[in-house]
Subunit: 396 residues, 2 copies
């Protein structure tokens, strides 16, 4: 393998930009299009690594922002990196921490050197810029690391009074993202075993997107991402940006759409040629009793599930639904909606655990079916098997 | 098998009342002396049934009090009983709900018909007496069910101003427990597949204990329990009651010491001839970052574990400690104290999950070694392997 990452395309779906393939990393392969569950603080909330693996997840995401603050990236490096620390021995991707630093923090200053903010852990003043973001991610040791980009927090000003300001801010973000990318390349200390991805910014302004795309892809990198979407805008707006940007990213490198999304958003992006996704939806929804099904989402607190003896989704191979899951052994496994509802009513941890694992399985089953549909040129049967993809009335 | 339960003694430890054996129930066997993890509301908090089973747990306890209030015992009966409802296909024991109703509730009235209290779920007025306690437990469908007893909440008045009152209350409790036992026997609707255990009361008054023992064992039952201990009194006082009562319970029936306890308490009780134990200590401590080890308890929030790369207990076969646990598969398993500490600091569910499973394993490993020591007449080596049993300075 030349460099830390290798990407091979196996199949293409005629008439679209969709493709399926394999990404090879120092910690093994993952199939694309791929969905990455989010393990923000070094754990997919409530799930042991082997349980995450049981859903077919082949790569997961950790957040550099949270881990640099606690337990600290140096402490993780001394423990052998995130794979060793959290006991996940498949590929890991870390984000740069920029998005969280800009959007979640008590920010004191943003300038051409990065962002200075107050730590949510101990209130201390923290600086994060391209060099430090690379140092943090080198310490965490993920297989894929992300450039430090300038991601304006939201598009809500675009059609309001702040339109001109927002446009200037977007343009500034594109410029900075390019300049910071060069500094990241310079600062990256583990090019042999960590693949650095560049990020295209530009909000919903397609001209700006085109400029960012040109500038970012000018740097030869093992992969590229589309950032600055799924930050509050309409799904149709996401789709139009993705349709414009994704197919123009280098054909022979994996393309990653950051923070997306619902099933239909993923489908649209796959058709535009995207290979990688991450999203907190399955776990965040799982913790609040919302389960994904092929017919749309359901909330288990609803009284109609009180005496419902069926699993969340008949035929689902997950630990929550399957009566003969390999992990369950002589305890069989398979839990009714009535039991899951009881767990949430009683505020028992096992409710979030079981619905999270089901929801991750839901997305991994979707990705598996997407890869098969690409391989077999069978997109219509995918849409037939996943009503949530085709019917806008279903909350997909 | 005659009746719902069969008990066979295999080995006895010379010079003591300790014995090892097997209890056979409609849902399989369990080895004694046995430790039952507590699944209060129909789940051992945070642990899937197969994970509980992986610790060597062969029987668990559910609380009738909590389950009758939510989701309701009739709802559970319609789902096929607790085994089906919670997906635990090994033996289950339910308590009668009396202890919780007396001690945890907003009690309105206690009389010879039982207790009337306010539901913690919806504030409604609930009556629990011997007949209803049997109905609830028949609905829940455990393999072993407990008589409805009168368990005075605490012994704290014994040496204070309330001494005379407390003595009268204890005597009343013994009388009621006997009368209620006869009503339970009468009301028990599933004698074919549920074994009813009687409970000896009497607090720390050995004369009262002797009377209760005589009255309760006059009723021919598949097993007997010692209740009303571990309600706040000194460990030495528990041991003296157990030493007095346990050996005089019928030799050919399993003896169950309710709600006990720490490792040394269990050891003392085994030597007095007790066969069954339950306790919330492993799970309750696990949730608050306290791990049991053979050297005593440790709290993972302590800063000294910040960079501790060792597991909780080297050689422990649990999912948290073992690097080649059968469930972990290619994710290896085995987590450092540094990682566990991080999980608690970050308030991640996986911390309570991993330390709970370790703590249950700790008690199951102790029971396994106790059974071996009885079989091999090797008690000294047990005490050598478990420093916490021998050294009162260790918080065992």
């Amino acid at each position: 393998m030349d460099g830390p990452l290798h990407f091979k395309v196996h199949h293409r779906l005629p008439g679209t930009a969709a493709r399926s393939g394999t990404v090879t990393t120092p910690h093994g392969d993952f199939s694309t299009p791929a969905f990455m569950p989010v393990g923000t603080k070094g754990t997919v909330k409530g799930l042991l690594p082997h349980v995450v693996a049981s859903t077919g997840s082949e790569i997961l995401l950790n957040n550099a922002y949270h881990l640099m603050l606690r337990p600290g990236d140096e402490l993780v490096a001394q423990r052998g990196g995130m794979h060793e620390f959290m006991g996940w021995h498949r590929p890991i991707l870390t984000d740069s921490g920029g998005y969280q630093a800009f959007s979640m923090s008590d920010v004191n200053q943003i300038d051409d050197d990065g962002v200075t903010f107050k730590s949510i852990v101990d209130g201390s003043s923290i600086h994060l810029g391209p060099e430090r973001a690379m140092e943090v991610q080198n310490n965490l040791g993920a297989d894929i690391i992300m450039a430090f980009d300038d991601c304006p927090p939201s598009v809500h000003g675009v059609h309001g009074t702040g339109e001109a300001n927002h446009a200037r801010r977007l343009e500034q973000a594109v410029d900075r993202t390019t300049r910071w990318l060069h500094r990241c390349v310079e600062a990256h200390g583990r090019t042999g075993d960590q693949a650095l991805f560049g990020i295209v910014q530009g909000g919903t302004d397609l001209q700006l997107r085109a400029r960012s795309l040109a500038e970012v892809t000018e740097v030869d990198l093992p992969g590229y991402a589309i950032g600055g979407v799924a930050v509050g805008e309409d799904p149709e707006l996401i789709h139009s940006v993705v349709r414009e940007v994704a197919p123009r990213l280098p054909e022979d490198r994996p393309r990653y759409l950051m923070g997306v999304g619902y099933e239909r958003d993923i489908m649209e992006a796959v058709l535009a040629g995207v290979d990688m996704f991450d999203c907190v939806l399955p776990t965040r929804n799982g913790r609040s009793a919302t389960a994904f099904t092929r017919q749309g989402r359901i909330n288990l607190r609803n009284a109609r599930f009180r005496e419902d003896d069926a699993p969340l989704e008949p035929g689902c191979p997950c630990l929550a639904c399957s009566v003969d899951h390999p992990l369950s052994g002589d305890q069989k496994g398979g839990f009714s909606k009535a039991y899951l509802r009881h767990l949430f009513q009683a505020e028992e941890m096992l409710g979030p655990i079981l619905v999270s694992v089901h929801n991750i399985q839901h997305f991994q089953s979707l990705m598996l079916d997407i890869r098969r549909a690409i391989r077999d040129d069978a997109w219509p049967s995918l849409v037939r098997d996943w009503p949530v993809l085709g019917d806008p009335a279903l909350k997909g």
